[in-house]
Amino acid sequence: MSDRAAILAYADRDSVKPGESIAFAVSCLKLDSFECDFVRLLGGDFGPEMLPFRPLVMTAPEARRYPGREQPIRAGSRIEVKGSQRLADLRSVTICANVMPTLIAGQPHSVLSTLTAGGDGGMALRLEADGCLAAILGGPAGPRTYRLDGPLPLWLWSFVALSYDAERHHLLVVTRGLKSGTHDYIGVSRLTVDNVEPPALSDGRLLIAAERDHSGIPHHHFNGKIERPRILAGALSLESLNDLALRKPTEPLSWSCLGDWDLLSDPASEIVPDRSGCGHDGVCINQPTRAVQGSNWESPTMDWRSAPEQYGAAHFHHDDIENPGWQEDLRLTVPTDWPSGCYAARLRGAEAEFFVPFFVRKAADAIGDVAFLAPTATYAAYANLTMQRQTNEYNLGCVASSYTPLDLLAFEHPGLGKSLYDPHDDGSERCIGSLRRPALNLQPGGWLWNFQIDLCLLGWLAHAAPDHQTMTDEDLDREGLAALDGCQVLVTGSHPEYWSLPMLQALDGFLARGGRLMYLGANGFYWAIDFHPARNGLIEIRRRRPGNGRFGAGEAYSSFIGRPCGTWSDLGRPEQSLVGVGYLTEAFDRSSYYRRLEAGEDPRARFIFDGITEDIIGDFGITGGAAGLEIDVADVGLGTPRHALVVASSEQHGSSFIRTLGGLNYFTRLWNDAPREPIRADMTFFETPAGGAVFSVGSIAWGSCLPHAENNNHVAHISANVLRRFRDPTPFRMPE
């Protein structure tokens, strides 16, 4: 642990209207108080070559010093059941479930537990630190463990059970392999023990996929899938357990149950209904992945809604997190005179500093004909990116992948959770991204990438359109086209990569009524995600990556809404058909410049270069140029409108830009010198039939050049030229 003081914090929302309130939860490490003020962000601390970082300090009565304390991070998904007297005294009982463990790694993993804190009562069914199944019986002398020999196989399904006969003092512990789509040996292991004293009473509280430690805090989180966890009101014989193991998980039982948890029913809900009739409904904590392939999944089923009986499992991880469960420290009521924009709670103490950004919507009576769409879905996907996956490091294109000291806090506090680009510790893909936790890379400093470049865009917009409004992806998802009422020009962030269907439909509607779109980034409109229907700051994706065999192959639809995920291109909506350009490649070493093309002289596009005589555009900036990081090109075959004009293209990119074809990463840069179409970014313009237009720069690095020379540069001039014409209500005319 570092000796330095540190502050970590998060807000309860990302978007707030004037007059509404937003709450902040703060954890102070080695600090007993912190100073809070509120700033408007129009840039960041990007070193001596950029504009000095001078956030605008806003007046608010909530800005003051607050007492601070460390708040523990409670990671790990689980189901909590409030419990009852009946669960406190289980008497003769059978506890069972189908499980697919995915990680043991020297840690116990609890399947279901009524154990009390300290283990002086209750029971648990768990995998021990070596992966062997064990029954744990709590008692005044401490918990007693009865374990099988031989670990359960990872990534394969097994039926696991304990059966305790309180009258005969007889304990039975059983595992039985289940068909998992392979030819693995399916056998039964069992342990029978006589003269087992009954467990002492518990307090009736129950956890699935975790148990309580000595302090009552959940630990021993299960890593893997659990399906149909049950408590039967009686001790089943070995024969009956075999019968139960072979039944489909949705088959009704003839035995009476005390708990029979249905993990499929309404997977977006935090409530897991108990089908036993005993009212022991559970509550999901920290978002286990729901609607995943169960033990009886059959290829090629893809949609859990069409075959719900095949998706009765949930995948739990010890590193799942929706929020750390911290208590609120302060609440800001946003003054009605704050202009729409990006703000942050700035929290400081000793040498520690932490920003919690949020977006303020426009006042109801404000004009806001220019709107900036803050790509919060993309922020949720990238929050706490660590880049320890080898292919990600490779794609950076540098010999040394780069971090800031704040980035490294993600390793010091692994419970904060990582990004959707970092796998879970069991190797499975992360599907759920949350902004309801400290985001170490959503700071007005660090690498110029994504959020940081968006702050440059907002700094430029504050000059070019001081009355602009901001809204978030989630606002657009919730409100649809109505969110864009009164808006004539929509400006994207630098990397608007993750889009839900309602967001795209709103954008379609906006363009269909003559709206104008400035796509000032790249690799946008790429992944299909869903926002959680009720909880904010949560997105879900199913990447549908090939190469994992059976695992995850049928998990193509989100659990939040039930829509198909993957890339929008694979779903028949390539980004080229929407904005004229689409993702080509990426590298994060040095960016390059654009050269104006003949199409830029076309009268239709001449306004773009108004006042600019040079052919070279954007050969400056802290990343080395305006074209880089990730770049897009036009492709008529993928939907670029045939009348689109590529008015400039970049050139002279370094050898580190990988060559991708059809989404396949060829994992070599060697053929950068082979004859082929050049690596480039295409700056593209086209009109829409409704009198609107789309301007796309095809580069994430574009926005990083805007602050150069105090916004007095060709990148800023071109952006301003386009913005000026796009605000002019005169309709664009489609070419003949």
């Binding site: 642990m1 330095r4 320890q388 010999v399 040394a400 971090y403 370094g654």
Partner: protein
């Protein structure tokens, strides 16, 4: 610089992982022929980021393709003005276990330093002395 202390939930996390894959030996074998190529070291030093020859591209490709554990990385200790090299641990979960000896004033400089470390790891002693003369 921070050091790692796992929270209780993550203690004793011991997944099986090999910092050097079976491909590392193959990588060394593939790159062995470059052991004396000081021209390629100089090419990288002249332009860490840019267009590289096919031979240097091959070396960089192999360097990037190696497992992450134990690798040198860059930490930007002051915004776009100071960098340090740091090294991941060999075991998981990876954390910073070593900081390079000197600060650097540019990202190119830290990449130059890391390139030399990786050269020595995969190819062998640098074919040039500190002053730039060939060994």
């Amino acid at each position: 610089m921070t050091t790692y202390r796992p929270s209780p939930e993550f203690e004793n996390f011991q997944p099986d992982y090999s910092p050097e894959s079976a491909g590392t030996a193959a990588a060394r074998s593939a790159l062995a022929g470059f052991a004396g190529r000081s021209d390629l070291v100089r090419e990288f030093e002249a332009a860490p980021f840019g267009r590289h020859s096919a031979e240097l591209s091959l070396i960089l490709d192999v360097m990037r393709s190696q497992p992450v554990a134990g690798k040198w990385i860059a930490i930007m200790t002051k915004p776009y003005s100071e960098w340090r090299a740091a090294r991941w641990s060999l075991d998981l979960p990876m954390r910073v276990v070593e900081i390079g000896p000197l600060p650097f004033q540019s990202r190119e400089d830290v990449d130059r330093w890391v390139f030399k470390q990786r050269w020595q790891h995969l190819i062998g002693p640098l074919p040039m002395q500190e002053g730039g003369n060939d060994v």
